[in-house]
């Protein structure tokens, strides 16, 4: 598969898996199948999970987007939806669930708390699940309405339709580093800085 350097012309970088008619058609087919049969692994911890349940129920009906089946086993899931705030006590749990999910896999961070810690800038709360696992789509809101989550899912479908099976970087496992962290320590400290109203919370005893 793929063109040789000579055929592509000088100055064009070509790999053996460069996009051509066959790979792009194959991409189209796999992405069509993947994006329309996402099996969500619901990780509901708080009020966002109630909105998530509403999204899955008859009025909003997630199954219209091929998400008929909630996969309560991470080993049969495609997309992890973290609906609600994540306390530090659950950090090893969501990390283990993420590690158990087979590739290809995506993650949606639903709501303000999952995305940034939200109002819980305290000793118990992970300041955004992106310090634990890689996140594809952030859905804002407190909690987001079902329409918001469905829009987030459609954004994810759009992202999946733009992926290519030739891109090996997409399917890389992001394991914890030798320091036991997913992101560098400095980055975690930086994105966990207080912001908005929570800068006023530092009140000494």
């Amino acid at each position: 598969m793929g063109l040789t350097d000579a055929e592509a012309g000088a100055g064009t970088e070509v790999s053996t898996m460069s996009p051509n008619w066959v790979t792009t058609r194959l991409d189209f087919l796999t992405n069509w199948a993947r994006s329309n049969s996402l099996w969500p692994m619901p990780f509901g911890t708080a009020c966002c999970a109630i909105e998530f349940m509403a999204s899955a129920a008859s009025r909003f009906d997630l199954s219209r987007f091929g998400m008929e089946r909630m996969s309560f086993s991470p080993r049969q899931a495609d997309v992890l939806i973290c609906a609600g705030r994540l306390p530090f006590k659950l950090a090893p749990v969501i990390r283990k669930i993420w590690d158990q999910m087979p590739q290809p896999k995506w993650a949606i961070s639903m709501g303000a708390c999952a995305s940034s810690g939200g109002i819980f800038d305290t000793y118990t709360m992970v300041q955004g699940i992106d310090t634990i696992i890689p996140v594809d789509v952030y859905v804002p809101g407190c909690p987001p309405r079902p329409e918001g989550l469905i829009y987030g899912i459609m954004l994810l479908q759009k992202k999946i339709r733009g992926e290519s099976i030739a891109d090996a970087a997409l399917r890389q496992e992001h394991l914890l580093g030798p320091d036991g962290l997913f992101l560098p320590a400095r980055t975690i400290d930086e994105i966990s800085e207080p912001f908005g109203n929570s800068v006023h919370q530092t009140r000494s005893a």
Binding site: F88, K89, A91, P92, V93, R95, D121, T122, Y123, T124, V126, Q127, T131, I132, L176, D179, G180, L181, F182, A185, R186, I188, D189, S192, P194, Q201, T202, R203, S204, A205
Partner: protein, 210 residues
């Protein structure tokens, strides 16, 4: 209601004073609730009497908690909230603990089995040790939590460690390594079970055990 403040005092106070004398330090009425301050060393004895005495029968332990005040001179208080199911009466008992000394009181697990998790929570959040508790471990925070006791006033809202360090410790916590003593003892007791029960357990049978 035209009852004066004196009428609102729970009749249990008079009984307590008659029975325990100087062990009852003082009492006060707040929002209609009677609060009795007792000495630490006799708190367990007093609670047992309140539960068992025919005139008191405070048989239901509503809650155990603790209070620390912003004034660092004030002692930390351990609170027992009691309720009498028969008489529909409430009573609050408090013990003051000097923060410069070891925070320690007697466990009431032998009086109320429900005290188990309540005392674990007070231990987890305030660092108060309950003497005689069968399984005094953290209950809300994970077992390897190393930052201290979160509801103490000297505990900063965001914790002592940096966010990166908190994340690292949380990810390394390995919750499966910390099963409770009961869970471990069930597994350990397998060898002592009767042979037929072992056979049935091995087949995953969930039938009635004679």
């Amino acid at each position: 209601m035209t009852a004066g403040p004196a009428d609102l005092v729970s009749p249990a106070v008079a009984g307590l004073r008659a029975r325990f004398g100087t062990a009852i330090i003082r009492h006060q009425v707040s929002c209609g609730d009677t609060i009795v301050y007792v000495t630490r060393d006799r708190a367990h004895e007093i609670l047992a009497w309140l539960r068992d005495d025919a005139g008191q029968r405070f048989d239901y332990l509503t809650d155990i908690t603790a209070v620390e005040y912003r004034d660092s001179e004030r002692p930390l208080e351990v609170v027992w909230q009691l309720w009498s199911l028969d008489r529909k009466a409430a009573l609050r008992l408090k013990v003051e603990l000097d923060k410069r000394e070891t925070l320690e009181v007697d466990s009431v697990f032998d009086l109320w089995k429900g005290a188990d998790w309540l005392e674990r929570e007070v231990y987890d959040m305030f660092g108060v040790t309950f003497r005689g508790h069968p399984d005094l471990r953290r209950i809300l925070m994970w077992e390897t939590y190393a930052e201290g006791y979160p509801l103490r006033k000297d505990f900063p809202l965001r914790g002592h460690f940096s966010r990166a360090e908190q994340t690292r410790q949380a990810l390394a916590a390995n919750p499966e390594a910390h099963y409770s003593l009961e869970e471990l003892s069930i597994a350990a007791a397998y060898d002592e079970l009767p042979a037929d029960l072992k056979t049935r357990l091995a087949h995953g049978e969930r039938g009635k055990v004679e």
